[in-house]
């Protein structure tokens, strides 16, 4: 590494500290958002979680307050039309709940001319349509961003830079954006065991969005390069048995993470004529690593407003690209302890390779009531069909027991969203 990857983040923090010295013209704005939510699932074997960054969620017969509840606080300082700074802190149930991780954004923005923004620091990973405000319940029509797609998104922010340029095309507005950054955070393994892995990766990409009358269309491509090795112990074990186990080398290669890449291709469409609205999004996740399951994720939602009330329907699906990998141990039997070791490794390899699969679909109905200024109440009922070979958006109640049957869950969610 030429320089510390935390450099943009640290620089932004430094600049934020000197902002108050910038002068009396600086405008300070404090704002925030909060959600108090409860999610109730009726499946006895699976635990509902909002996304793969969560290590806990809703069990059968016990609603989860922690899935959707959060509090966000934001400070914004505009010290001139060109220069601005922002910090956003979000308190919620997260796997690695350090203060550093609670800082969602912390950046300095430079706007040399209207329509061109350069930002440096900790930035929102703007890969999907709702990425930059997916935690702001008041800003979205549903209780949470649709699970079949947003459940996979582990990347909330990165430390780096982005550039955004706006073009006016008659009545339409085109935005083009490019970003680059690094992330180094701890994620749960997904086995409901309080274990985590610290993943270091670089992310870069570009996106474009077009707004025209009631329509909004958007396309983004983003690539993630893994810098860390997460399967060394398992691969070492496999390689030590390679002389006796022909497939061990193949599995070992599949398990590699360091310097491997995966990518997101996203398209999104939104229409809102203030009476009816619809939104759809499709993401194809391509991957060189078996630990990030390649697949297709999509949702579609349509809603109608009646004054301060609104109702909506939504449907979504997630489909892995590759079949389940059956790990076969060598046919000849060895003497113990080698035989035991092979059995254990075969099981661990299969669990690791297939545990990341996501295969499910859902449909649901919901309502939103804007009962007071900047406050909304929502109720949402969804039916999930989860394939036994693709449960990774959920946790297993008993992580030692494999899921042998396809699963269903009726998820009822209530939320109170406010902004201030």
């Amino acid at each position: 590494m030429m320089f510390d990857k935390r450099f943009p983040f640290l620089l932004a923090l430094l600049l934020l500290c000197i902002t108050p010295l910038a002068g009396a013209d600086t405008q300070h704005r404090l704002s925030g958002f909060a959600t108090l939510g409860i999610a109730m699932s009726d499946n006895p074997e699976l635990v509902f979680r909002r996304d793969v960054t969560k290590d806990n969620g809703a069990y059968e017969h016990s609603g989860s307050w922690k899935s959707d509840s959060l509090l966000g606080l934001q400070w914004q300082g505009d010290w001139s039309p060109e220069w601005g700074t922002m910090v956003q802190l979000v308190a919620k149930d997260r796997f690695d709940n350090s203060l550093a991780n609670s800082i969602e954004w912390a950046f300095v923005r430079y706007r040399p001319t209207d329509g061109l923004d350069l930002r440096l620091g900790r930035l929102g990973a703007d890969i999907f349509m709702l990425s930059e405000y997916r935690q702001v319940g008041y800003a979205i029509p549903w209780v949470r961003p649709p699970h079949d797609l947003y459940g996979i998104t582990s990347l909330y922010h990165f430390d780096g830079a982005d550039i955004n340029k706006r073009f006016e095309l008659g009545n339409a507005m085109l935005n083009i954006k490019a970003f680059y950054g690094n992330s180094n955070e701890e994620y749960p393994t997904g086995f409901n065991d309080n274990q985590g892995i610290k993943i270091n990766f670089d992310a870069y990409g570009a996106g474009t969005s077009l707004e025209w009358n009631y329509w909004k269309l958007r396309y983004t491509y983003a690539k993630v390069q893994m810098n860390s090795d997460h399967t060394k112990a398992l691969r070492n074990g496999l390689q030590s048995l390679a002389p006796w186990w022909q497939n061990a080398a193949v599995y070992s290669t599949l398990l590699e993470t360091e310097n491997k890449q995966f990518d997101y291709s996203q398209i999104g469409l939104n229409y809102d004529n203030n009476d009816w609205w619809l939104q759809g999004e499709y993401v194809r996740l391509g991957s060189e690593l078996a630990l990030v399951a390649a697949g297709k994720h999509a949702y579609f939602s349509v809603g109608k407003r009646f004054g301060s009330w609104g109702v909506y329907a939504l449907a979504g699906y997630a489909e892995p690209e590759n079949p389940v990998i059956a790990v076969q141990r060598p046919l000849i039997a060895f003497t113990d302890p080698i035989d035991q070791q092979i059995d254990y490794l075969a099981k661990a390899t299969e669990r690791t390779l297939n545990g990341v699969r996501i295969k499910q679909h859902s449909y649901g109905l919901g309502a939103r009531w804007d009962f007071a200024a900047k406050m909304a109440l929502k109720i949402q009922v969804e039916e999930f069909d989860v394939d036994k070979t693709g449960t990774n958006l959920w946790l297993r109640v008993d992580s030692t027991k494999p899921i042998t049957q396809d699963q269903k869950s009726t998820l009822v969610s209530l939320a109170l969203d406010v902004m201030f």
């Binding site: 405008q27 704005r29 704002s31 958002f33 966000g72 934001q74 914004q76 505009d78 039309p81 601005g84 922002m86 956003q88 954004w105 950046f107 923005r109 706007r111 001319t113 209207d114 329509g115 923004d117 930002r119 930035l123 929102g124 703007d126 930059e132 405000y133 935690q135 702001v136 008041y138 800003a139 706006r166 009545n171 507005m173 707004e211 004529n273 203030n274 407003r305 004054g307 301060s308 804007d370 200024a373 900047k374 909304a376 902004m419």
Partner: protein
């Protein structure tokens, strides 16, 4: 009887006139007139400058004030909750600063009179010399 009739007519006319919203800037602002779409782009955070490139500061009334609701409904067709939800997507993404909210129309006018970058909306009324109208909106009730 005739007097009452005339008074009623006068009241009705003033009622109609009251329904009009004036979009105002500082008299020293070189902008002469703005189209409805340009006002919308400014107040919905799509742009942060006047068409001539000079930076703009949008001024707003506090949430819940009837004129605010009428202004946004006329401009965008959205009710206040929709406008606030829309702004939440920009504010909490760190993209744009929301319009500065002030307590009443007189404060808006005073701020526009003092700030050459300011733009605000008020009901039809007599305005001081250092404030000028760039467009009028026929309010949708």
């Amino acid at each position: 009887m005739m007097k009452t009739f005339l008074l009623m007519i006068a009241l009705m006319c003033s009622g109609l006139a009251q329904a009009e919203i004036l979009v105002i800037v500082n008299a020293q602002n070189p902008v002469i007139t703005l189209e409805k779409k340009q006002v919308m782009d400014l107040f919905m955070g799509r742009v942060s400058a006047f068409p001539n490139g000079q930076s703009a500061e949008t001024l707003d009334l506090k949430t819940g004030m009837p004129l605010r609701a009428r202004f946004y409904k006329t401009l965008t067709g959205k009710n206040e909750a929709q406008v606030d939800a829309y702004w939440a997507t920009l504010i909490f993404a760190g993209r744009m600063s929301p319009p500065k909210q002030l307590a009443d129309e007189q404060t808006l006018i005073a701020e526009v009179a003092a700030n050459t970058e300011a733009i605000a909306y008020v009901t039809r009324q007599a305005l001081p010399k250092n404030v000028k109208i760039v467009t009028e909106l026929a309010a949708r009730e």
